[in-house]
Structures are given as C-alpha cells and as structure tokens.
Symmetry: C2
Subunit: 405 residues, 2 copies
C-alpha cells in the first residue's frame, strides 16, 4: 500500500480529499496500485466527516510513517508550508503543491532538496489550476529549447476585462460583480495589481530560463488604469484587452513581464474569456502550443494536485521533475525598455503631429462615442525608444498599452 | 550512456534526428544525462549526412545493443512497424511512435507487451502532432474519470474548411490550394473522408474508455458533402464548421464519432483555424481542458517523438503509460442514433411545416444570396428520433449537420 497525506483542509485540501474518494476505485484499478489517503494535517477540527479519523495536528505523524510516499501541500503561504515541505522532502517523500507563492519564492531550493533525496517536488496546480502545463513542459516539450510563454493566468482579472469588453461594464462595477460571484477576494489587491500573475510567471520563467526568477525581478502592472474607452478601441479594431503574464528570450537574457496587452483576435489567447485561463508556450521544435482550462476552483485545482500525487506515487524512486538553478543576481533578466514591441497609443495630438513624431503608424478606428483624440499602433521598435518619441508628442499621451506579438 | 534508435528516416525520422542534434547539449545538460543517437534504420542509403555513419539496414543491430534503451518508430503503416516494435518491446526497450495506424490497430497488444517487459510504449506524436495530450492524460488528468474528448485532429480538412468560411472558397478549390501548399496528399482520401481523424479518435477513445476502440467501430463521415452554403449559414449565425473527432460517455457505453459539426463561437474549438489542431478533454474533476498547436510537420512531430524518447529514457524501469484492455466485441460502443444531439437542418419546407413536424426549433438567419429554403437548429433529442421527424418534413431536407455541444 502507498499512502499520501494532505497538508491543509481548506478549499483545495478538502477538494483533493473529495476528488480522491470520488475516483479512488477507478484510479487504483487503472493505475494498478493501492493508493490510500493516510493523513490530513490541519490545526482545526473537522468532526462528522466520513474521513474525520484521518486528521492530525502533528506533522511528525506524517514524517514518521514510512508508508507515506507522497505529500500534497495545499496550505498556501510560505510559513509554515516551506518548513513542512522541506522536512518531507528530506525524508524522501515527494511533495506536490498548489502553492504558487512557495514555488515562486523557494522553488530552486526545494527542487534541489528533492533531487538530493531522490524524490520529486511537483507543482502542476501552482500555475493555471487544472490546466496541464508544468508536467507537459517537463515531458512532452523537453526536446526543445523553450523560448517563451504568454498566458492569461488570473481568472479574476480576465473576468473583469471580459465584462468590460463584452458588456461595456465599467471596471469598478465588474470588480464588484466578480466579488459578488466569489471570483474575487474582498481585498482584491493580489489579483488586480498583478501580484498573483507575477508569481505564476516566476514559475514558468524559471522553468524556461533554468534560473530562479524571483517576483521582484518581474515588472508588474495591474489592470486598474484600464478604462472602458481602452476596451472599446480593442473591440473596434480586432483586438482583445487582456492581462498577460509573459516571458521572452532575448539573446542570452529573459524578459519576464506582467502587464495589460492588446491581443490580436488571430491569437488564441484573445478568445479566452470569463474566469478561464490559458498559457501559450514557445519552443524551437514545436513552435507554439496552448493549454486552456479552469485556472482555479475546488475540484479543478484538486485535479492537478491529485494528478501530481498519483504520478509521483508511480514514479517512486525516479526523479521526473526538472531543476532550475538558484539565481544570485538579475543579470540574466532583460528590461522591457530594451525589448522590441508595438504600443497602442491614445493621444490628443493630430494625425500630422503623430506621423511627424512617430514615423509610420497604424491609425485605429475610433469608437463612436469617443471624440477629440486619435489612437494608433506604433511600428515595432525598442520600447524605450518608442516612449522617448512619444514624450515629444505635442498634446500629450492619454494612455499606452503594449501589443502582444 | 543511454542510446536511442530511430526506425525510418522519412520526414518525421529525419526531423527527429535534426531536432536531437540541434538541442542535444541543452537536453543532456537539463536532464542531467548522456543521451546519444545510436542507430537509424532505413532500407535506403543517405550518404553525405553528418550522421551517415549511424544508418543500418538490420533491425538486429538495434535489438542486440544493450545500450539502446529507447526506440523511436516513425516508419508509418502496420507492416513491418508492428513486428519491429513488438521485438523491441520484448527486449525491454521502450518504444515511442508517431504511427497512428499502428496504435489504432495494435495499441492494446503493444501496451500489454510493454508492461510484461517492464518498459514503455509511448505515442504522444500519434495524435495532435506536437500537441501534448496523451502524456497529460496519463499524468496531469489521471485523478479524474475521463468522460469524453472532442478535437480538430486533421490539419488538412481544417485548412479547407477555414478557406471555405473565411474566403468563401469552394471546397474543390480549397483542396487544390491545400495540395499546392503541401498540406494535402495527391490522394487526399485519408484526410477528406475522415480516416486519419478516425485513427486518432480511436487512440483517445481507447484511453478514455479503457478498452480498445478499433477504426471499424467509429462512424466516420468526411467533409466532401459540405457546401459553401453550409459554411455561410455557420458564419452568419455565430458558428464555425469543423470536422470533429469525438468520443462521449453515455451511461456505461462510449460513442466515438468523426463528423462535420456546427461549433458555437463560444467554444474554443471554433477559433482553431488553418492547419492547427486542438483537442478538448472532459473529466469529472477538471471539467474541461483544451490543448492547441501544430498537428503535423517535420519538427513539430519530431518534438513529440523526441519528448517521449527523453521521458522514457528518464523513466527507465518505471512503466509510466496506462494500459487499455483489448476489446472482443463492440458492446461498449454507443450508436449515434441513441445519443442526444441537436441538428442544423436546411429544408425547402415552410416555417409552419417545420414547426408542425419538429416542434420548437431555432430558426437561423439566411445568408443573403440563398433563397427558397429555411434553416434551423433542432431542440436537443435522440438523433434517431430527430431524423424520424425530419423524414416527415414535406418539401424534403437539403442537408443536416450535427451541432457540437
């Protein structure tokens, strides 16, 4: 018999137990083994559940049971999760986590610990919820040089932007609706300011670059500066407006970024609406693949956690996860101002003034109710140079938003 | 040192060698091992290549070399591929294949042979080219009961349908264009009659049902009966027209099907254009995920083959792939006439006659140049019952196309 344990009985933890008991017979028959849930660690009591007998308040119960081969960490936060995870790995128990903050801040160290103790540190659920992306990058895409990724990895902000574009709903009201539906927290800062997306791109960027990309290395912009007018320009000109977490290889460096983007409707990401997530990965053999699905929620996230648990149980003794090195400085990180991009720009300047300052641009169709301004998309150039030219525009710039390649 | 061999030096085989040599240093550094290409089997001579020394005409060279742990079979066809693959597996060498015909016709037997000899039979490249879908179903999604899949798995027909919808190009001319661009074979039968898609849905349906679904169990319709008028109705009413390979769980049975479908623009599959492929998988925990990318081509397919090779090399001694049982009859297969569906219908009958025969339906907007007919989408009902009602329609039916859920 192989046992696994769950650390934390919140939304994801209880979902992981629920999904396991729902599909246990099928899983064990299909995989040809005998997986059991051995323990659930939580400081709270949960009397009256069919599996109340599995609860413990002492991590040592789990650490000292040799039948426990895999531990699912779904507590969230760095403390005490980091300590618990590290001790499990040091005992040779594989750990599977949904904790993006833990991976974004401590991933390099925990991957190293896992390898030293011949076990796995898996984190499929940390990025994109139910969506398979981490494991496929470790396996299916491993013959390639990975050159970048771009994704919609925060469901709350995508829901808000969808409401703005499709229903012309102002941002504040869309946020209120998201909160009423339980998609956004009472304090929505982590979502709307891009911090949640930042942690997820840290994970993808670390996998792609092979060096740990820490949150403070990622220029991060949220969605609060976006207006209905921006959304209307996007719709009227064949674009969607999305919060994109991305990383791009530039020479020997990597540019991680979380920022609102104009996304052409020819790009699959433009069609990802509501709370759905999607991540496109780029590589030198396969070119591009996109993964799409539910980025959050009880059972969807549990699906990813439990998938890792089963895979780690099957791989017992084989280290499947790829490592990345810790990074001592940010010399491998490129700055946005040096990257080539195109910008969407709204300005009160005249078309003649725009052409004089910017050279050739693509003027956009102005939505009906908007007057007294012009909007255009620049030619591709280094972002720093584009901003320098824009600063010379008589009449001033109302807003600029980067265009996704 | 771990060696792998390639059986066949056609488009995919030469691509696999090319991608390996392109990324070899990176792969070996990243995975921490020492993978070498040991042999390429082909009856032809390829003088003047940088790796011409690796060619052999004798499978025994590969079978007898204990350093060869993994073999990539990219010959296509059942013979002699089946014999070679079986002998490799019996020697305990894992096999990775892009050969959809081999998997669709011999998958159950080869998976069993692999398990008996403690090695893997992997086939990521057989379905969806570069797109990760098989391995994620084996790993990331393995905590779920899988309840179905629907995909655009043939790039040639998707290219033709895209031309029909977006450029109003008649089917025959779109097919000619596909041939001119190298997307379609001179004899395009396997693509346009749905046989290629049929083999791929056999593989997905076998994984989902746990029993081998053979090609002859799959009702298969191609795209040759589709007209520009059908495509115009789709566009005018918020649908795309796609060749969909699908499998759905119905009670204890499974319904596999290859057929043209009306796909709502709210479904991600509607936005998959040109030669791109995409596969949506359904399950009881994650709900739905979609995988999108290049379904064919030299390096994209090589990416999937070589990804399997590396994963099998890492998993040496651990059987990662899930088995399915062989099927002795088709009693687990549901027939389309018993499944609940909605139909798109064009008829010369009047709206009153339609309502009298069919009950409540959704009438569609008729594209400008089409006259003398009505089109509608039925309510959801058993397909057999719907067709019975349609047969009573005075005026006759011009065409019916199933609507994807």
């Amino acid at each position: 018999m192989t046992k696994f344990a769950i650390l934390g009985h919140g939304v994801v933890g209880s979902g992981t137990a629920e999904l396991f008991f729902m599909n246990k017979d099928l899983i064990n028959k299909r995989e040809g083994f005998d997986l059991e849930l051995g323990y659930i660690l939580d400081i709270r009591d949960f009397p009256g559940l069919s599996y109340s007998n599995l609860f413990t308040k002492d991590i040592n119960d789990i650490l000292s049971d040799p039948e426990v081969k895999v531990v699912a960490e779904v507590m969230g936060g760095v403390n005490p999760a980091f300590d618990f995870v590290k001790r499990c790995l040091e005992k040779g128990k594989s750990v599977c986590t949904s904790n993006k903050e833990l991976v974004a801040k401590k991933g390099a160290e925990l991957l190293k610990t896992a390898r030293e103790h011949n076990c796995n540190f898996a984190f499929e659920a940390s990025t994109g919820g139910a969506i398979p992306v981490i494991e496929p990058m470790h396996t299916c895409l491993c013959a390639n040089e990975l050159t970048g990724a771009a994704g919609i990895v925060n469901g709350t902000t995508n829901f808000i932007l969808t409401k703005m574009i499709e229903e012309n709903m102002p941002l504040e009201r869309a946020l209120k609706t998201a909160q009423d539906l339980g998609y956004a927290e009472k304090d929505p800062t982590a979502d709307i300011e891009g911090h949640d997306a930042c942690r997820k791109i840290c994970i993808l960027a670390s996998m792609i670059s092979g060096k740990h990309v820490y949150p403070e290395m990622v220029p991060t912009e949220g969605i609060m500066s976006l207006t209905l007018e921006d959304a209307e320009y996007a719709s009227a000109n064949g674009y969607a407006l999305k919060l994109i977490a991305s990383v791009e290889k530039h020479g020997d460096k990597y540019l991680p970024l979380v920022a609102p983007r104009f996304v052409s409707c020819k790009n699959q990401l433009a069609h990802v609406t509501d709370v759905f997530n999607a991540i496109t990965v780029y590589g030198n053999g396969f070119d591009e693949v996109m993964f799409y699905g539910k980025g959050a929620g009880k059972l969807p996230t549990a699906s990813a956690v439990l998938g890792d648990v089963i895979t780690c149980a099957k791989a017992d003794g084989t280290v499947m996860t790829r490592m990345w090195e810790d990074s001592t400085d940010d010399s491998f990180i490129e700055k946005p101002e040096h990257a080539v991009t195109r910008l969407f720009v709204r300005t009160t300047a005249s078309k003649d003034e725009i052409t004089a300052a910017m050279g050739e641009v693509t003027f956009l169709k102005t939505p009906e109710r908007i007057t007294g301004e012009n909007a255009f998309i620049t030619a591709a150039d280094e972002e720093g140079l584009l901003n320098e030219k824009l600063s010379q525009l008589a009449g001033g710039v109302i807003t600029t938003i980067r265009v996704l390649k």
